[in-house]
């Protein structure tokens, strides 16, 4: 005797299913990052290519290994580790010793992601956790910049890249200052045009604002990236800088310099928009991005470091649960707290 066929199925919400899965979104983010990576390789040559490859490999292998260690199904197929690795590589200076890059990838996944329980539970952007640990560990190596567009960039590597693991790197004599460093310590502003198209020293992928903007626009158009986050960050940074530049043009840079220099573009478009570590509601997202924007300006103007995007985003990630709690939408069918009181 078989059971009578059920005519009523009871299921819990959510009832609407989206055809877009996590790995679809993640794969598209990887596609969007590829032009940025390609341009970085064009600018810095073999060194940048190796940094990107090593960081991605380290991140993916760590993810695979930790999944096996935890007796879980390997999650490398969801592409999120690839993104973490690529993003980490893009934030590092091109001549960084490759063993440091590999350590960064391992730390990003192990400490930034698996310590919290894997994808969907990380309260901080894993790539930035990796970079923050590297920055605190090797403050000299991570602020030694290599010039872009050197003539032999596809045939030779900077001496520091292939340093033996755990040994001090030997630096080439040709190192350069980033536009932000020059602004902070020597008060020389770079030309905005150069910054916009990316022909300046800096981290592997923080150089061309134009390419990052185009790739970000592609993701936003496909609804895979919350466009409010980068737009609010840009607005807050530009607005605050305009005020200070208006008061004292000698001390503070122009808004366009602030927008197109350093890691602001990459950070605002690809890192602050981390789906797990940013708030869910629109007002929450606005507050979160405004906090990041203010922190960027504060650190760049009055902090000890020339660049503050990384710490600003990590700070934003840290306060994001608090923002989420204080800006909760009214549950449908209930009265607002104010009406009750």
């Amino acid at each position: 005797m078989s059971l009578p066929k059920k005519t009523l199925e009871i299921r819990t919400s959510p009832h609407l299913k989206s055809p877009i899965q996590t790995d679809t979104i993640m794969r598209n983010v990887v596609y969007a990052l590829l032009p940025v990576a390609a341009f970085a390789v064009y600018l810095f040559g073999l060194a940048a290519l190796l940094v990107l490859l090593v960081s991605t490999l380290a991140a993916v292998l760590t993810e695979h290994f930790l999944c096996i260690l935890n007796h879980r199904e390997s999650t490398i197929r969801d592409w999120s580790a690839v993104i973490t690795g690529l993003l980490l590589g893009l934030t590092l200076p091109p001549a960084l010793p490759l063993w440091m890059v590999a350590c960064g990838g391992i730390i990003a996944i192990a400490l930034g992601k698996f310590m919290f329980g894997g994808l969907g539970y990380n309260s901080f952007n894993p790539a930035l956790v990796g970079r923050a640990v590297l920055q605190a560990s090797f403050p000299v190596a991570i602020t030694t910049w290599y010039p872009a567009m050197t003539p032999d960039r596809f045939s030779s590597l900077p001496a520091s890249s292939l340093t033996m693991p755990f040994m001090k790197p030997v630096w080439d004599t040709v190192t350069t200052a980033t536009p932000l460093g020059q602004m902070k310590f020597e008060h020389i502003a770079a030309e905005t045009g150069n910054l916009f198209f990316g022909m300046s020293g800096g981290s592997v992928g923080e150089t061309s604002a134009l390419i990052i903007l185009i790739c970000g626009a592609y993701l936003a158009a496909r609804n895979m990236l919350n466009w409010r986050i980068p737009v609010t960050i840009f607005a807050v940074v530009a607005g605050l800088t305009a005020i200070f530049h208006g008061i004292s043009p000698e001390t503070y840079p122009t808004p366009q310099f602030m927008l197109f220099s350093g890691g602001l573009m990459l950070g605002a478009v690809f890192m602050a928009t981390d789906m797990v570590a940013s708030p869910l509601t629109t007002p929450g997202v606005i507050v979160y991005s405004a906090v990041i924007g203010v922190m960027i300006v504060v650190i760049r103007f009055w902090g000890g470091l020339p660049e503050g995007v990384m710490y600003a985003i990590l700070f934003g990630n840290a306060v994001s649960p608090l923002i989420e709690r204080s800006i909760q939408p009214r549950v449908y069918g209930t009265t607002s707290r104010r009406a009750k009181a």
Partner: protein
């Protein structure tokens, strides 16, 4: 359970070293454990100073336990502990100004180390002098052992040295984060992970042994 007095007193001493280790198992006294363990020598100095204060105050609390009124016991314990902390502070200052500078305010802060007040309240005030001494010595040495574990990892990775001697080659690139406050949290987390892993492994093995009988 073995009720032989000699066995009991060994037990009082041993438990603080491993099974009830103040740092790795009870997670007490985190402030000095994170703040001054950036080198082995600091860890040893802080551990021994705390052990001294712990032993002396536990014995005094134990001998005065019927004399101190219940209502003012915490204040009395603090007074006793503070006395010995002052002794320890002057002693460290006398043997090495540099060490005193490295440990800084954390010597004075031994007064508020919850491990010491905790042992006074939980153990010394309820036991005679000899068990109180054993308990304090075990806990103090367990604390020192834990600080050396933390300090060892941090100094080795963060500076490439142990007790000031070069361990790796001259060209070793130090991980500066490990001697910064962040490194204290990383190494404490790693040690706690190791301890919990060993504990769960032991339990699993015990369970397997029981099942096989």
């Amino acid at each position: 359970m073995n009720t032989d007095p000699a066995h009991l007193s060994t037990n009082e001493f041993i438990k603080g070293l491993w099974r009830e280790n103040p740092i790795f198992v009870q997670v007490l006294g985190m402030c000095p454990a994170l703040a001054v363990t950036n080198s082995v020598i600091n860890a040893i100095a802080m551990g021994l100073a705390t052990t001294f204060v712990l032993i002396m105050s536990s014995m005094l609390v134990s001998s005065l336990r019927s004399f101190i009124p219940k209502q003012v016991r915490i204040a009395s314990y603090i007074l006793i502990i503070a006395t010995f902390v002052t002794v320890a502070e002057y002693f460290i200052q006398a043997i090495s100004i540099e060490l005193h500078k490295n440990l800084g305010a954390f010597i004075a802060l031994i007064v508020v180390n919850c491990l010491i007040l905790g042992r006074a309240e939980a153990f010394a005030s309820k036991n005679t002098i000899w068990p109180a001494f054993l308990d304090a010595a075990g806990m103090g040495l367990g604390f020192t052992f834990a600080l050396i574990c933390l300090g060892g990892v941090r100094e080795l990775i963060g500076n490439g040295t142990l007790l000031g001697y070069m361990i790796f080659s001259e060209n070793y690139q130090p991980w500066i984060v490990m001697i910064l406050p962040g490194g204290g949290f990383f190494s404490l987390g790693a040690w706690l992970l190791l301890f919990n892993w060993m504990k769960s492994r032991k339990e699993r093995l015990n369970l397997a042994a029981e099942n096989s009988h």
